[in-house]
Amino acid sequence: MRYSETGYKLEVNLSQGNIERVETDPRLTELHLGGQGSAAKTLWERVPPEVEPFSPDNLLIFSTGLLNSTPVPGANRTVVNTFSPQTNLYAHSVMGGYWGPELKHAGYDMIVISGKAPELVYLWINNDKVEIRDASHLRGKGANETAGLIKEELKEPNANVVTIGPAGENRVFMASIEHGSSSAGRGGTGAVMGDKRLKAIAVRGTKEINVSHPAELFDQYLKLMKEIYENPYAGDTMADEDEDSFHHDNFSWGNARLRRKGFWTEEYEEKYKEITDRVLLRWTGCYNCPKHCHLLISRPGLGKHVLKCFGRATFHMAAFKEHDFSYEIVPVALEYGIDLYSTPQVLAFAIELYEVGILTDEDLPGFPSDGGERFYYLLEKIVRREGIGDILANGVYWAARQIGRGAEAYDHNTTKKFEQVPLKLGKLNPPYFLMTATGEKMNVPQIEGSFPQDPLPSPEEREEFVRGWVAPPNEKIKEIFLRWEKKHDISNEASCIIVDWNEIMHYVDDAVGLCAYLSSFRGGQFGGRPPYHIHNIPDFIKLASGIELDKDELLKIASRNRNLVRALNVRRGLRREDERPPEDHWAVRDHEFEQKLLDDYYAFKGWTKDGIPTKETLDELGLDYVSDDFIKRGILTGDESPAPSDIWAGKGEEEKARG
């Protein structure tokens, strides 16, 4: 019997209309744990680098994590992976909610979608019965609207549905996949789903998931539910607070341009609270988690929608408006099925181009004068790929180059052709430089979190913080924190250790299906008392799945997955020169320092000076098939050594941990 996983995946070829239920190899679970890891392995084996994102040969993979739908609280994530039309690289987006558990109870850990349907279709998975159904009547319908219509026509109110809106159907690069309370928003996964002419996947599952150590796991579950509920640092700590100076005073407004320090006042907060109270119906959350990080809001004429996290602020900050604007436009954007992070930046970028005369009334006939109305105008054009919208729908990077006439200069907040968090700061922050430059998840919130963002001012406070800090994998990290006084003053050695830990925890979560808000995004920042960390996750893996791992073995699996994802991108051409944060992310830059830091980090990771994992690194992780492929393709000769570094030269893993 397979524990905590179903042991089956669903293979759906939309070109042929072929559906297969395929048993998976339990050894692969031991090597990759599921989720992002198993998806990366599938992409490596089946999508050669020459396959275009909008090709029937590209795969769209929905995977649940190993612990998803077991009693482990907050293990409810679904990971969506494919190759992005915007970056031509690996795309990774995670969503919570209920769909992943439903899929597992239907008897599948993963769905692999290949091909391209001749007409718009949707997939209906009802346990063993799986159908490809006509979706022509759903063309152009909103994302949540579609989910409702499908549940109605299937007469299955308990089905869980993921959908794309018109943005996905029209292959807008920022298109998201929506699931009512959650979204896989980043990376253009919705565009690939639209390219495959797959409007939705509805799932109903009534099968059981077995666990290997029932009584012990349940005992732990009861304790952890209480702990998570009571832990003020777990979950989206900002979700139910009315105070949000963090984003409004520190993040940039407009096209990632203007920091408005002091915007947030008590008066504004009162006003914002009043607006929120008016629209808020309820706090909701995800499957088997006592937190309630989502706001269910209702707007007359716009129906009900769920707001989360920074998505509450991105639109009005980009449009220089206030919260009421977001509460009006976000429901529209969610129905269109479009990313709430990249999209506002694209809209603000177009407005900037208009204001400086690069885009004219000819490009934007009847362009309104009000910033808010302009947003609606542009959003409509982008979602339908009409006129200038057809170009803007490709994201800031591509649009700037297609428009030309100097528009390239206004593309100032992308890395690897992808819109980044709108931050414009002063002094370079070394760990954030590395995360922004090298993170394969392309999005800092999916890379950072385990190490605190800021130092504590006094040695006493730092000692107090470290005293109850169980999350770090080794003592070295605690020492770094104890000695850390000035935010930007941090050794290269420390930066490497911090960034490695930060990103590896996300690779753990995204393989087992844990919510980052209970784990990797909470290891150190906002309190440093995460319910999950590298020391207790192995226990939950053992109790649920029977796979016995210690901390180091779990880190090794995460590192295997991390390097495999790196390999996917390297095989598609990613190199050192692409690993640059937006040029003006920090005002003060030091090229020489940054390049030395990059060398040190590559060396720490066992990568060459070009950012390619060495043969030794790959083989050590059991990725011999990757190193063989790299040598065959001439990407590696096999004799490369890690990047030059006086800190890490010749040091093994254990020595690195000790520093």
Partner: protein, 181 residues
């Protein structure tokens, strides 16, 4: 004897719809508790408590299964409570033919809530234990109820014989058998 009063502990699950976040931990925990062996598998569709959910209508109603009935009611009532519409079935825990709620997905057999009866008894049903938002709370009250003397075995057996064969036939048979001794 009927009519006499006795004190009895009565457990009740109280539901506060406004506090439910829709997480369905109650369903998960219920299905685990009733699995054989206990906690060995999870299947919310086998749970004796279900959160009737319509996210897009802000409907979150945890309902607990109660008695089985062969006949369905007409179920035509629709209630509007503070502007939200609820179907009658949204509040009903009866295991009835009109829906697949509270039936084992494989066998179709009814799944009735037993408030997690266990030996030794547990303090609170599990759905309540895992609901930290207090959408579900448990209260035990001592109530005076009419003493309900249970008929003994002989009485039960005789009653069914009477039902089946009628008073006269039983009386004749009893008389005949009594004479033989």
């Amino acid at each position: 004897m009927k009519g006499e009063l006795e004190k009895k502990k009565v457990g009740r699950i109280r539901v506060d719809l406004d506090k439910c976040n829709g997480c369905r931990a109650c369903e998960m925990a219920c299905s685990a508790f009733h699995a054989v062996p206990k906690y060995s598998n999870i299947n919310p569709s086998r749970s004796r408590i279900r959160v009737v959910t319509d996210l897009m209508d802000d409907v979150f109603v945890p309902i607990r299964s109660c008695d089985y009935t062969k006949a369905e009611c007409d179920g035509r009532r629709v209630y509007t409570i503070q502007g939200k519409e609820y179907k009658e079935c949204s509040f009903c825990g009866t295991i009835c033919p009109s829906r697949d709620l509270f039936k084992d997905p494989d066998s179709g057999l009814p799944l009735k809530c037993d408030l997690c009866e266990d030996d030794p008894a547990i303090e609170e049903p599990l759905c309540v234990q895992v609901c930290h938002l207090d959408a579900l709370t448990y209260e035990v009250t001592e109530e005076e109820v009419e003493k309900d003397d249970k008929p003994d075995e002989v009485e039960l057996g005789l009653k069914s014989l009477l039902d089946k064969h009628g008073k006269d036939r039983i009386a004749d048979t009893f008389a005949r058998l009594s004479k033989k001794e």
